[in-house]
């Protein structure tokens, strides 16, 4: 299978100007690649920068040095240097991201939170909503909740809404930040099987997963960020 995502010598340091320009190194020289249908799990102790790496691939954190190459349909984009307009198009066509916590928008119903990535992609609203409903059903979000804004949902329900939003569009690269962290065993198993299905459909996945059982079922390779940490 072709390489869908490649990180080459990626480095990142935060400079905190409000704390006297304190420098917090995240990673240096991070290099790995993910093929279509493959899942790479990022490992390392808490705080080492796993979520930061996902955010850099998605473009919500900047990359100081190196390249983050994303391939789709023969077109290659370097996220580290892509202009905002290119990044927005890439997020619509190629890269999906399931964050650790849902950022709820006031007044928007759960069903629309999930269906929104399909709006404007040539899918009709009805079709998008019915597909969103099916996925929410599979994730055990009862019908009565779907028309409510998720702000008042439990942590686990919010996370499943977030997962549905990330999984609904068929995107070739998927970034998952602790997708099973606040789920019970039954829902955890459902999400695990969704991830395995995504791999079979050819998605390249980078995940942060602490649960050993989930990791065993989805990981093809593990990248330990300890090896790319900057010596303090």
């Amino acid at each position: 299978m072709p390489v869908a995502l490649e990180l080459i010598a990626v480095s990142k340091t935060f400079t905190m100007h409000l704390q006297g320009a304190l420098r917090l190194p995240v990673v240096a020289g991070l290099t790995f690649s993910v093929r279509a249908g493959e899942c790479v799990v990022l490992a390392g102790r808490s705080g080492i920068g796993k979520s930061s790496v996902l955010k850099m691939i998605f473009g919500s954190y900047r990359c100081d040095a190196g390249q983050i190459l994303v391939c789709n349909g023969g077109q290659q984009t370097d996220v580290a240097h892509a202009p905002p307009r290119r990044m927005l198009a890439l997020r619509r066509s190629t890269i999906g991201y399931v964050s650790q916590f849902l950022r709820a928008v006031p007044r928007v119903a759960a069903i629309d939170v999930v269906a929104e990535p399909l709006f404007g992609n040539g899918t009709s609203r009805e079709d998008a909503r019915s597909r969103a409903g099916e996925l929410l059903q599979r994730l055990n979000i009862p019908g009565s909740l779907r028309s409510l804004p998720p702000a008042t949902f439990s942590g686990g329900e919010q996370q499943r809404v977030n997962i549905a939003r990330g999984f609904l569009p068929k995107l070739p690269v998927l970034l998952l930040d602790e997708p099973t962290a606040s789920l019970d065993a039954a829902n955890c198993a459902i999400v695990t099987s969704l991830i395995v299905e995504k791999k079979k459909q050819g998605a390249a996945i980078v995940a942060v997963v602490h649960d050993e059982g989930v990791r065993e079922k989805i990981a093809d390779a593990v990248v330990d960020l300890t090896n790319f940490a900057v010596a303090a």
């Binding site: 919500s60 997020r91 619509r92 007044r107």
Partner: protein
């Protein structure tokens, strides 16, 4: 975040090219350049006095730049320098292809004319004459901004602040403009009213594929509405990029200060 429509290789709708404005020796804004494409929402943030409103006035030709140009792609596909348009052409643009949402709705509305007429007026300026069609279109727009049909003959004077702001939006959108400029559209509204307005604006911008420049000092508004963000300080653009990138990974000391100053909900 909502989708950006359009092809990556198309021409920008609006181009600011090295815009500067001096009020005598005092700087309004300096060397501002950006390109805005159809369907893109860009937020301009910064404290009061940072040059945000000056920039908006330069973009809308309400003020003349000391140097620099504003280019706009007209409906015929030709991109033109706004300074080179004659007065009639500029007025037609302002009445049809642009909308301007003021912080104070009283500036964008006629307070002693009915709500329906406030919306219908822009259509009449375009030559619409059929009273029934104008009234139906106005009623349709009041519905879209969630104003009850029974209020169509009331003066905006009798409306609440949030309703006035929604009416101002309807008045602007009725001519199907492509570019909307907004100056602090949620300023002075209660939080719950703000949320409703933001949700409405978000939906309309996405559904209609509007290009929007929204000036705000409220980073939460910028995060909800915009795809891109430009941070201004003392007349200069100090940081620009994807909204989530600038807000989640701010680089400049001033941007870090702004982001750190948000109170958690």
């Amino acid at each position: 975040m909502t989708a950006v429509t359009g092809m990556p290789d198309e021409q920008p709708l609006l181009i600011a090219d090295g815009l500067s404005k001096w009020y005598g020796h005092r700087l309004g804004c300096r060397d501002v350049s950006f390109e805005l494409y159809e369907g893109e929402v860009m937020a301009v943030v910064g404290e009061s006095g940072s040059g945000k409103t000056t920039l908006l006035n330069l973009l809308s030709s309400q003020m003349e730049a000391t140097s620099g140009r504003v280019l706009y792609r007209m409906r015929d596909g030709v991109t033109r320098d706004l300074a080179a348009l004659d007065e009639a052409e500029r007025r037609l643009l302002a009445r049809t292809d642009w909308g301007f949402v003021h912080q104070d709705p009283a500036m964008g509305l006629r307070m002693r004319v009915s709500a329906g007429a406030n919306v219908g007026e822009r259509l009449m300026a375009l030559g619409w004459q059929h009273y029934g069609r104008i009234r139906d279109t106005a009623a349709d727009w009041l519905h879209r901004v969630e104003i009850d049909a029974s209020r169509i003959d009331d003066f905006p004077l009798t409306y609440s602040g949030g309703m006035r702001q929604r009416l101002q939006i309807a008045r602007n959108l009725v001519t199907q403009p492509r570019l909307i400029l907004m100056d602090e559209p949620t300023g002075g509204l209660d939080v719950s009213v703000q949320a409703r307005l933001l949700d409405l604006l978000r939906g309309l911008a996405a559904d209609l594929g509007l290009s929007v420049v929204v000036v705000t000092h409220d980073l939460a508004v910028a995060r909800l509405l915009s795809h891109r963000i430009m941070v201004m300080k003392e007349g200069d653009v100090i940081e620009a990029g994807l909204t989530d990138q600038v807000l989640d990974d701010p680089r400049e000391p001033y941007t870090q200060l702004l982001v750190a100053s948000i109170l958690p909900p």
